[in-house]
Amino acid sequence: MAAEGIDEFDIRDYLRTELMPHFMCPGCGHGIALRALLWAVHEERIAKDRLAIVTGIGCSGRVGGYIDANTFHVTHGRPLTFATGLALARPDLEVVVITGDGDCLAIGGNHLIHACRRNLRMTCLMLNNEIYGMTGGQVSPTTSEARLTTTTPYGNAEPTFDACGLATAAGAGLVGRGMTLQTVALKNLIREALAYRGFSFVEILSDCTEIFGRKNDLGSSPEMILRQKGSMRPDFYGNTVEHPFRPNNLTTGIIARNERPEYGDTYRSEVLAPHGHGGAAAGVSAPVE
């Protein structure tokens, strides 16, 4: 399955194997999402020394710890802020943020919209499993209506966030959605996001089998992952920018492109250079591209 002219992908080359097996529950989709990320990194030929992973808190935050690269495990909801500083200071790095639905949309929702607004070059992967899994299964901004969680014992009555619609509206350069069932398509989507010069936001539909699935009687791990094709996912995942909350079937792939100046370039040329700071202000050599 090697791509053109590259060695076959072996995920063990990119893992801290001494920490394996990882802590995630049986059937957890985050493992598949991590494979897709590392596979895309492999095919984009990004050296591990140039890869900087920033993760927040939650199951998604723990994912970063297993990657054999530069990884930062930061405070709840703030991976995008840490990544913003990192990407500005070290434009030679490939900054990837791995965050969860609660981390990104609730606790870090403010940071998400400002990261989208700036359009600084980085890749944000939001692993959406519709729940706060690690802390015991509380309702999250993407929990579908009527679903049971520990904080909504009679069913969730809140409307959900459409993360892709939010990111698009806030001005993210590239917005896409993938699901763990279609690993190869997800890998290709992440490749596009990694290659994009600007802020790219990828929502990854992932399964929480032990907390969310068990509580809502969604069946076994294979049943849950198969449902990604159809009925399990709510209709709220509207696809288009014009009607971000339109009831619709789930759409995957690239959902929006918003070509705007990349913030890092603008900052260096419009702010630093006129004040004589040039490349030295960033403290590093010119970006390696």
């Binding site: 399955m1 893992l15 529950c25 049986p26 957890c28 989709g29 985050h30 494979r35 294979p222």
Partner: protein, 311 residues
Amino acid sequence: MNALDKESASPHGNRDAARPTNVLIVGVGGQGVLMVSKVLAALCQSEGFEVKQSEVHGMAKRGGSVFSHVRFGEQVWSPTIPRGEADIVVALEWAEGVRWLDHLRRDGGTFIADTQRIVPPISFRNRTRNAASAYAPETPAEVVALVGNGFALDATSMATGLGDRRVANTVLLGALSTVLPFAAEHWLAVIEQFVPAKTKDLNRRAFLAGRDWAVSAERVPAAVATDAVAQKVTARAIETAPAHLLTINEAWCKGCDICVKMCPERCLSLNARMVAELARPDACTACHLCEWLCPDYAIRIESTPAVKGAS
């Protein structure tokens, strides 16, 4: 070769003068079966015969089975040829020819076939690499020996040699022309009506090549060539035999059951310790689905060096 009387209304040596001559043309979609039958029907019509042609092509997209019945004579009633009544079977593809062999007259029918094999995926017994194929096992020599008058030629290779493999059907028309009582010029005139202007010269050469092959005595080389091809296929199969290696890291597997349920060939299972194991290694096609969907990276499929070298 039948010496035919041009004045006869039933040119193919029929016992019954009133009986029409039946030509069955078979092949797979995209080869030009209908072009062959149109040429034949138009030619017979221009020669003053009544012609009926019927064909099935709607269900046969590219690669599917296509056949066309052409009947001509003084008077033709039914448009279809009953089983065992075809005077000539023209096969543009080898297995299709063998498939329709039962329509050929047992007493002296003529069988004209391209020995080129178009092997459909469905002919393989299972989906593993180098699986046994159920594709027509009869060699051309065996089939030619079976029929009264057999022509097995590698028309596709001849057409490729002439510049375009798509004129293989015209090569077969050339061979067919030697067993029907019509002049070569008439054949060529009709063919030119049906082919694109740019390919008229090519089709002419293809027709003559097929005709020359049929009148010449040597009819065996095609069989030899096919055997050589078969040998080559076998040799390649041995070369790439162990195609892949599926390994399961038991320490990493958490028994989530995804690989077991998602495997299209159902070759994995959970053992008593709730760890995935490869229960049917022979059925594994190395599709990588289990590897991609394993959240714990416990499954790994590696191509063996033989395959790496081949690709």
